[in-house]
């Protein structure tokens, strides 16, 4: 079999192969010298790599197929080397200035057709972040009703009837409750803390729970307060839980939320359902603690309330779950405003925007 597009192969010994391939390579390089324009490149490609009449195809048919088994390897190596060289030349030609532009030029600086994606609400985004941060510390997620009874919202959390501590949480009440016993009266939960009680009643210790949810208070709205807002509550109960564990957990969580350089400090506070109780401040995330308008020049921002679970709370829960024996177990709880965290993280100046559905606001979170 012979073809005049390729040189004569006189034998399958190395010398004959070298001579034949040297001749092919010389042809190749000569052809590559005149690769000007798309047509020329296509011509070159067809000449060498064409499926039917390309020179490589001919080499394969004429030399490879008839080669004795012991010659296949040296022949194949040379064949592959030639093929790689052809492809490299074609790649170079494509990358080079050889190809002319076709069609009318487009203005690539015009905006692209973006997929129109919806944006997750900043509160939901913060909610998920809180769940993720605490899940990494072993916390499961809990929920409870938004309409609560007085018992779960107040009494079981150690807010006795007629106690001044109730004054701090102005409550929205469902109509027609006057005739019921106080403990059964329905109201909008003022905090996510009732879920602590509900969960402990359902399941014995140990407990690690994070409870995000919507809460309501009968407060006047302004730029930083809304009668509708969101909290995330945390509860950890086990043997040997200490006040230091509470501090360490929240310090860790705040670093996860706001960056590892954030510092925390704890102040005595008062919540009926924790003892000792604390307010937690973080070093100002805007000025790093030097003092700015956002932190009222104190370098600190108050962010959450917390404390060790008051033994009285275990007393209420023990009516249904005897395992909550304050002699054997201890725990801590904390609560923070998701809206407030979202506002800080994303620089939102008016809390009303969160509940407006304003597309111009929401689309910034896409």
């Amino acid at each position: 079999m012979s073809d005049d597009s390729i040189p004569q192969l006189r034998g399958y010994d190395d010398a004959s192969l070298d001579r034949a391939f040297a001749s092919l390579t010389a042809d190749l390089e000569r052809g590559a010298g005149s690769l000007n324009g798309a047509d020329a490149v296509e011509q070159f490609r067809l000449e060498w790599l064409g499926r039917k009449h390309g020179r490589l195809k001919t080499v394969s048919e004429a030399w490879l197929k008839t080669a004795p088994p012991e010659a296949r390897r040296p022949l194949g190596q040379r064949f592959n080397g030639l093929k790689e060289r052809i492809e490299a030349l074609l790649t170079d030609a494509a990358a080079g200035k050889h190809r002319a532009a076709t069609g009318a030029a487009i203005d690539v600086t015009l905006p692209g057709t973006r997929p129109q994606l919806g944006a997750e609400h900043p509160i939901v985004r913060t909610w998920h972040e809180a769940v993720r941060i605490f899940a990494a510390m072993g916390y499961s997620v809990g929920t409870g009703p938004e309409v609560e009874t007085d018992y779960y919202n107040f009494e079981s959390l150690n807010f006795p009837p007629n106690h001044p501590a109730r004054d701090t949480q102005d409550t929205l009440v469902v109509v027609g409750q006057e005739r019921k016993p106080l403990r059964d009266r329905l109201l909008m939960r003022t905090h996510t803390s009732p879920v602590q009680i509900r969960t402990m009643e359902q399941q014995p210790p140990p407990i690690r729970l994070v409870i995000p949810g919507k809460v309501h208070r009968n407060d006047a709205a302004d730029a930083t307060h809304s009668p509708i807002f969101h909290q995330v509550e945390g509860l950890c109960v086990d043997e040997g839980i200490t006040f230091g564990d509470l501090k360490g957990t929240l310090d860790h969580a705040m670093k996860a939320f706001f960056g590892s350089s954030v510092k925390t400090r704890f102040f005595p506070s008062f919540f009926p359902f924790t003892e000792p109780s604390a307010d937690v401040q973080i070093s100002c995330i805007f000025c790093g603690g030097k003092g700015c308008r956002k932190c009222k020049h104190s370098g600190w921002i108050e962010l959450l309330g917390c404390g060790m679970v008051d033994p009285a709370i275990f007393g209420f829960v023990r009516q249904k779950q005897p395992a909550y024996d304050p002699e054997k177990i201890s725990g801590f709880a904390f609560g923070m405003g998701l809206d407030r965290i979202a506002m800080m993280k994303y620089g939102i100046s008016d809390i009303g925007l969160l509940f407006s559905g304003d597309v111009r606001f929401l689309e910034q979170f896409a």
Binding site: T113, Q116, L117, G118, A119, E120, H121, V124, M137, G138, S140, V141, G142, T143, P145, E146, V147, N162, P164, A165, T168, L172, V173, V174, V175, G176, L186, P206, R208, K214, H216, N218, I228, I241, T242, F243, G244, D245, K247, G248, T249, H252, R265, F266, F267, P268, S269, F270, S277, A278, M308, P311, S330, F355, S356, G357, V359, R360, L362, E363
Partner: protein, 698 residues
């Protein structure tokens, strides 16, 4: 509460740190100093603006804050000087307590021949620095003592009192004009300080008008008493009076304070002129004394305290010496009961201390919260998501990817909206004390909130809006409120998919979302249908011509479509709005669909198109059912490729539409033959013709 550092220092002779340092240290111990200002001369020093938590009524005065400082710095607190000049002979004023459950102690002291006039000296100077208005010396003395050591007192014009002082329940309908000038009608839940004839004041809340001190007053009766917190709180709430006195009594006053307060007030009034007549009359109800003041001592274990608080990172740690020293400095008396164990007698001014845990908190507080090490508890267990969390995530991701922004709206709606949008009549629940009239009801549907948000955008010239909200809806009655998780979605305006390319959003954009959503769940059947208005099934806020419901396995999971033009008009929306509600609670009864695959055929698919004209009464649903009813296994797909109506009725008659039905045939194991394709085409045509279709000639 405003505190003068100079006044504090008068109780702490050894104290030498700066005001700034004091403010910081108090704040870290729970007496939050929120502002430090220069106090006016001649008092000097600083004015602290403090915020004291409701449980710490003992610290709502200068002496109480000084006690905190003494505990923090380990200083000695100067005792209060209560010495009085000798009394002139006299029997003292008779006092009867007829409501012992409300009044545990009542002291009365008579001062005669006093001179009533403006205050001067240290009272005037300290009041000026505190920004407190001066009234008359006897009244100012009472307030001064309140600010100084915290116990409320009251001065009566003795000459206007007729007979003995009686502390009793008010008679229903009894009248009393209080110091604020308001005539009040009392009832049996009120407790009054009275004489033999009339009520003189609301016990522990506010004195009466008729017996108040005036410049003409010559003789005074000073009341210093102890009233029950719950009783005072009820009165203060019912009458809407929040006075300094009620604030303190309702949080629990010091049972032993009345004689001290009485002496301090007397001293100040007597500075001008006058003398004491008789000894202090002090009526004590023994049962209240036992309950409130002579409380049982409580056991305190240093080990238990240290164990609950954890390691300290600074200082000596929670040792025996540290913890007992702190408790002692706060006024506790400690008697050792065993190694590291004490029996603790509680100070009468700290009614908030009742249990060992309260003492542990005091130790932590005074030691300093930030001196405890940050530790992490060990954990072994599993972390559980909420059961519906993956479904919620699937739904949220789908709506976000469909271009709907997530929104959160009000939990409440107006009564009108509740009536319009409730799933059944009468199930919406009203609020007793709503935030506003527009928020009078718990929302029984998320649609009114969605429409409010769409309107908000349209009113701000944002015309292209797509929103969804996942939230709770409420139905039931005052007896029982049920909550369900639903989803509302709304869309208006145009969909832009390029520089010059946009189109109005329509019903099928919403339907596509519902289709994609239901496709995420495992269900045997999903269908959509419209209802005649007469059926009453379609929510009447939707336009019945362009709305549908979606039924999954026999249960309705969504209503959606074009908002009824009437509703659109009444809300003054300036363009058509599409809206829908998805009952997630029902949808979530289905599990998420697990994808499963079939082998892809290696054989060529064959397409055949059929162009037919149908009367409008024949819906696509009927066409599709007929095609699937043919049970041709090789008929892989059929869809309406094009639908056309001719408004002029020329190419397609009026009341008809033409549809291009595109079909695809494919076999998994062979190439299809022309004969069988021909036969299938024929049966498709004849089936569709039997539905009323007419094959169009090409």
């Amino acid at each position: 509460m405003n505190i003068l550092s100079a006044w504090l220092r008068s109780y702490l002779p050894q104290f030498d740190a700066s005001d700034r340092e004091l403010a910081d240290d108090l704040t870290l111990r729970g007496i939050a100093v929120e502002g430090v200002f220069d106090a006016a001369a001649p008092i000097g020093g600083s004015l602290f603006e403090t915020d004291i938590t409701t449980n710490r009524v003992d610290a709502m005065n200068h002496y109480g804050v000084a006690r905190e400082a003494a505990a923090i710095y380990g200083l000695t607190l100067a005792p209060l000087d209560t010495t009085l000049p000798a009394a002139h002979p006299g029997a003292g004023h008779p006092v009867r307590i007829e409501a012992p459950e409300a009044c545990g102690r009542f002291t009365a002291r008579i001062l005669r021949n006093v001179k009533i006039g403006p205050s001067c000296g240290i009272v005037a100077e300290r009041f000026a620095a505190l920004g407190q208005k001066l009234i008359l010396n006897a009244v100012d003395a009472s307030n001064y003592v309140l600010f100084g050591m915290g116990h409320p007192t009251h001065a009566f014009d003795l000459d206007k009192i007729e007979g003995a002082i009686v502390v009793r329940r008010a008679r229903p309908g009894e009248r009393l004009k209080t110091l604020d000038g308001i005539d009040r009608v009392l009832d049996a839940d009120d407790v009054v300080v009275a004489d033999e004839k009339k009520a003189l004041g609301l016990a522990g809340v506010m004195g009466g008008w008729d017996t108040m001190i005036t410049p003409e007053t010559k003789n005074i009766l000073i009341e210093a008493a102890w009233f029950d917190p719950a009783v005072v709180r009820r009165m203060s709430r019912r009458h809407g009076i929040h006075s300094d006195a009620s604030h303190r009594f309702e949080r629990g006053a010091d049972f032993h304070a009345p004689p001290v307060a009485s002496a301090l007030v007397s001293q100040l009034i007597l500075k001008s002129r006058g003398h004491i007549e008789g000894e202090l009359v002090d009526v004590v109800i023994p049962q209240v004394l036992a309950r409130v003041a002579a409380r049982r001592s409580i056991a305190f274990s240093v080990a238990r305290c240290a164990e609950l608080l954890g390691r300290t990172s600074d200082g000596p740690g929670i040792t025996d010496e540290v913890s007992t020293g702190i408790l002692h400095s706060l006024g506790c008396t400690l008697a050792p009961s065993a190694e590291g164990r004490y029996s603790v007698t509680l100070p009468s001014w700290r009614l908030d201390l009742e249990r060992e845990i309260d003492l542990i908190e005091e130790v932590a507080r005074v030691y300093g919260y930030n001196r405890f090490a940050n530790t992490l508890p060990t954990f072994s267990g599993t972390v559980l998501e909420l059961p519906n969390a993956p479904k919620q995530t699937a739904v949220r991701e789908l709506l976000l990817s469909a271009g709907y922004h997530e929104a959160i709206s009000s939990t409440f709606c107006s009564a009108t909206d509740a009536a319009t949008f409730a799933p059944q009549p009468g199930v919406a629940v009203a609020m007793d004390n709503p935030l506003s009239e527009e928020a009078g009801m718990l929302r029984p549907s998320l649609v009114p909130g969605m429409l409010t948000m769409l309107a908000y955008n349209l009113n701000r010239n944002v015309d292209d809006v797509r929103l969804f909200e996942m939230g709770t809806v409420f139905t039931g009655s005052p007896e029982r409120v049920d909550e369900a998780q639903w989803l509302a979605f709304g869309a208006t305006g145009r969909l832009r998919d390029g520089l010059n390319s946009s189109r109005a959003l329509n019903f099928f954009d919403l339907k596509g979302v519902v289709e994609a959503l239901t496709a995420r769940f495992a269900a045997r059947s999903v269908y959509f249908d419209a209802f005649p208005v007469a059926s009453g099934l379609l929510p009447h806020w939707l336009n019945p011509a362009r709305a549908a419901r979606c039924v999954v396995d026999g249960s309705t999971v969504a209503y959606f479509g074009e908002l009824h033009p009437d509703e659109n008009a009444s809300r003054k929306l300036r363009q058509p709005v599409l809206v829908g509600e998805i009952y997630l609670d029902r949808l979530f009864r289905h599990s998420l669909r697990q994808p499963s695959t079939r082998d892809l055929s290696r054989y060529q698919p064959v397409r055949r198109d059929f162009s037919l004209v149908f009367p409008d009464t024949v819906h696509w649903e009927a066409v599709g059912s007929a095609l699937s009813g043919l049970a041709i296994a090789e008929l892989q797909e059929y869809r309406p490729a094009e639908i056309f109506r001719d408004p002029k009725g020329k190419t397609v008659p009026a009341g008809h539409y033409s549809v291009l039905v595109s079909t695809t045939f494919q076999s998994p194991d062979r190439t299809l033959r022309d004969e069988e394709l021909h036969a299938w085409s024929n049966s498709i045509v004849s089936t569709l013709e039997s539905l009323g279709g007419r094959l169009r000639t090409q």
